[in-house]
Amino acid sequence: MDLGVLLQALVGGLATGAVLGLVALGFTLVAGTVRVLHLAHGDVVVAAVFTGVLVVLGRTPVATTLAPGPAVGFALLVLAAGAVLSGAAGWLAVRPHLADVTRGRATDVVGWVAALVAAGLLLREVLGLLLPQEAYAVPDPLRLDALSGSGVFALPGGGSLPARVPAVLVLAVVVGVAAERLLVRSRFGRALRAVADDPDAAALCGVPARRVVLLAFVFAGLLAGIAGLLDAPGRALSVDDGVVLGLAGIAAALLGGLGSLRGALAGGLVVGVAQSLAVTQLGAEYSDVVPLGLLVALLCLRPEGLRR
């Protein structure tokens, strides 16, 4: 393989992987705090993007460049939709099935699993009824393509890269690291860790445990919205893409050790590069099979992640 193609695959994979890291960060946040596997997380990413598309461009969107006003509106809408949808999943689907000490009830695993897959399915199918095409081109409110005049960057070794790819890589890494620092340093982060350790003890110490659980979902949803904004304009997005995106994010989170924020970001990069190399070396048909196969193998062989 010549250097140009390798570089292209590597940088492209890192960019996809950094975005996956944001998805994984949200997933690991919820898993670490609430001890729930957010099975609808990927659907929230895609649904957030399409909510923006539906509101700004309507049911028959065409690939266009947005004027600055609508572009800002679109971006804010996607973030808000991510937060609201994820929060709703946490509040409506998960909360009723969590352990309740005052009623002497244990966590109903079958209940929250079923409720979250139902939420994901509902998001996909309702959007599918509203947007019947196979896939859609999503506008880029950040106009990352305009970073270079020709829309591409030349790589040493003869390869080239869409201009948005390195920009996505940088932005996603910056957002990921900032979110990680925020979660480690802030009061909110401390409250999250207290609830993760022992929700009842945290509640006794005055931490509003229920609100913190809801906020974990909302924060994960915000990250999902950002991931969607960065990822969606680079490809033809289908309403059904959310599941595999979410599962790839879960594979990244597991790879980094579930509950570890930095691990999730690093795991995202690994999964992204693995996927990209598989596609360039073996063929495009491996783009879904590799992360899904990785996830199944991880769950069966090393559910505690590679770090232990």
């Binding site: 001890r35 079923a114 409720a115 897959v117 996909r124 879904d288």
Partner: protein, 563 residues
């Protein structure tokens, strides 16, 4: 409904019944039955006539076995107790199989799927058999499979497997502490589920001559999941009702506007939500006020200090730490048969840690635990139970939907695992009848010892708190253990209930059982214990008869502060 549709629904019911075995009988969240159906269908199409050309029977058998192996492997994800990872693993598997079928059209025929000639033929030159599988024959075959599976489910639920399943479903942690190998049982259950899913897929592809990705998609997995949730726990008719609903679903979807495929998805999600809401409403029955204690206290028998019995459990030099914190430092302890040995000490002195080490839940950094003269590795509670050591959890764990007598029977099953008990019960061999009579005797004896005979067959939710604590003792005893580790059995008991507990413990001691009693109530300790060990900051500061320990200056210092 045409004959073909009827046969198709019956084959689907086979998959649903298989899934019910995991979801409703064993409490495992399996979201990937569609993947196993796909393995059965695609495997049969690829290997059988029109594919590799194997005889149809052999192709089906191979596909079913392959799916079983796959189920066995995926169940590795259910090693952890909570089981949620299994939902994730099976859901990912459902998508993996679906996307792989679409991604490799040369092998799986792309979106159209694999097409085979119908009707299929079962041919055996050796037997001179050539059987044309018309739709009517399919109806017969599928109905017979369903009947067989339902009969097996009902029979299984009544035997030793039913005890295992109730424990897996309602309290995997408790099951593990009573010696039931939770991970092994889960793997067996998922293997059966996957094999039945594959049989369903194989039957469908032979019937229709087609297996397309859209027919075995993750949506099918979810639809089957809804179908088995409809009936509630361990009821065979649940999947029957669920599949009937699924059969009606496409007709409903056609009546809705928009893409029929999407409408089916929306309806499936709506059905899932309805089932969840109903399930939740049913589980929120109003909490009845806890019944008043009904155990009459009995006068204490004068208890003589037992003469020297053999040492049943010996701990030597046990050291354990959590990170930098040393919880136990060189603790030694002998438990003799016929003695109640109390372990006391201030909070945080290491009592619970020692209990965990003795119960095999925690491996010590150094030191050894001997049971009846043999050193035991910390191999988990199961190995301990088989060696005759059972622990009761500090927190009360009562399986809410299982009668007390049956909960004790689960413990009997956990403590004595005859080989192939499930298969022998399924075939109703004479030995299985003898075994079930023996088990019934052990259940009765344990209930009698714990004074629970009058409440053996009431609803477990109606047990008083004291009875729940006694039930824990009865379960530990029913494993056949000679050493019982009791963590604060009197916590929350009324005075009358404490008197009964005292009585129960002394009787057990009279039968030669060794007991370690972790307890804060010093009156109970003084009344019941033959020996007392005092633990402070992970070290034994005093051990001996209660009278001597009470007057020990070191103990008084530890409890009352330096004078």
């Amino acid at each position: 409904m045409t004959v073909v549709e009827l046969a198709q629904s019956l084959w689907l019911l086979v998959a649903a019944l298989g899934l019910a075995f995991s979801v409703q009988y064993a409490g495992l969240p399996v979201l990937g039955q569609g993947a196993f159906v796909a393995v059965g269908g695609v495997g049969t199409a690829l290997l059988g006539p029109g594919g590799a050309g194997w005889p149809l029977g052999l192709a089906v058998l191979t596909a079913v076995v392959a799916a079983g192996v796959l189920g066995h492997v995926v169940a590795l994800a259910a090693r952890r107790l909570e089981g949620a990872y299994l939902a994730l693993a099976t859901w990912a598997l459902a998508w993996l199989v679906y996307r792989a079928m679409l991604a490799f059209p040369s092998a799986f025929g792309g979106a159209q799927g694999l097409v085979r000639r119908v009707p299929g033929h079962l041919v055996s030159p050796a037997l001179g058999l050539d059987w044309t599988l018309t739709p009517a024959v399919h109806v017969g075959l599928a109905a017979a499979s369903c009947a067989l599976v339902i009969a097996a489910l009902i029979r299984l639920d009544r035997g030793p497997a039913g005890l295992d399943l109730a424990a897996l479903r309602e309290g995997p942690e408790l099951a593990a502490s009573l010696g039931i190998p939770v991970a092994v049982r889960r793997r067996a259950v998922l293997t059966v589920t996957a094999a039945l899913g594959a049989l369903s897929g194989a039957g469908t592809v032979v019937l229709l001559g087609l297996v397309a990705p859209a027919d075995v998609s993750p949506l099918l997995s979810l639809q089957l999941f809804v179908a088995v949730l409809v009936g509630g726990a361990a009821r065979w008719w649940g999947p029957v009702l669920g599949v009937a609903l699924l059969t009606a679903l496409p007709h409903l979807a056609d009546a809705l506007p928009g893409d029929a495929e999407r409408a089916r998805g929306v309806l499936t999600a709506a059905l899932l939500v309805v089932v969840l809401v109903v399930r939740r409403v049913l589980s929120l029955r109003p909490d009845a006020a806890p019944p008043a204690p009904r155990i009459a206290p009995e006068p204490d028998e004068a208890h003589l200090v037992a003469e020297e019995h053999p040492v049943l459990l010996r701990a030597r030099g046990i050291t354990a730490s959590y990170g930098a914190l040393r919880a136990l430092d060189g603790v030694a302890l002998d438990l003799r048969g016929g003695q109640v040995h109390a372990l006391i000490g201030p909070n945080g002195s290491g009592k619970s840690t020692l209990l965990k080490v003795l119960a095999g839940e925690l491996s010590p950094d150094s030191g050894a635990v001997e049971v009846a003269g043999r050193v035991l590795a910390a191999a988990g509670p199961q190995a301990r139970v088989l060696a005759g050591v059972a622990a009761t959890p500090q927190r009360t764990v009562v399986l809410p939907r299982t009668r007390p007598a049956r909960q004790v029977a689960i413990a009997v099953r956990g403590g004595s695992r005859p080989r192939h008990a499930v298969a022998r019960h399924l075939l109703a061999t004479p030995s299985s009848r003898v075994a079930s009579q023996r088990s019934a005797l052990m259940v009765r004896a344990a209930l009698r010892e714990a004074r629970l005979t009058p409440v053996a067959d009431i609803d477990a939710a109606e047990l008083t708190f004291g009875e729940q604590r006694l039930l824990q003792v009865a379960r530990a005893l029913a494993t056949g253990a000679r050493v019982l580790l009791l963590d604060e059995p009197a916590a929350g008991m009324s005075a009358d209930e404490r008197a009964t507990l005292r009585h129960v413990l002394r009787r057990l001691a009279g039968n030669g059982i060794a007991m370690l009693l972790v307890e804060h109530d010093m009156r109970l300790v003084n009344a019941v214990a033959d020996r007392v060990t005092v633990l402070v900051a992970g070290e034994v500061i005093a051990a001996g008869r209660p009278v001597d320990v009470r007057t020990d200056p070191a103990v008084q210092r530890a409890y009352l502060g330096t004078p």
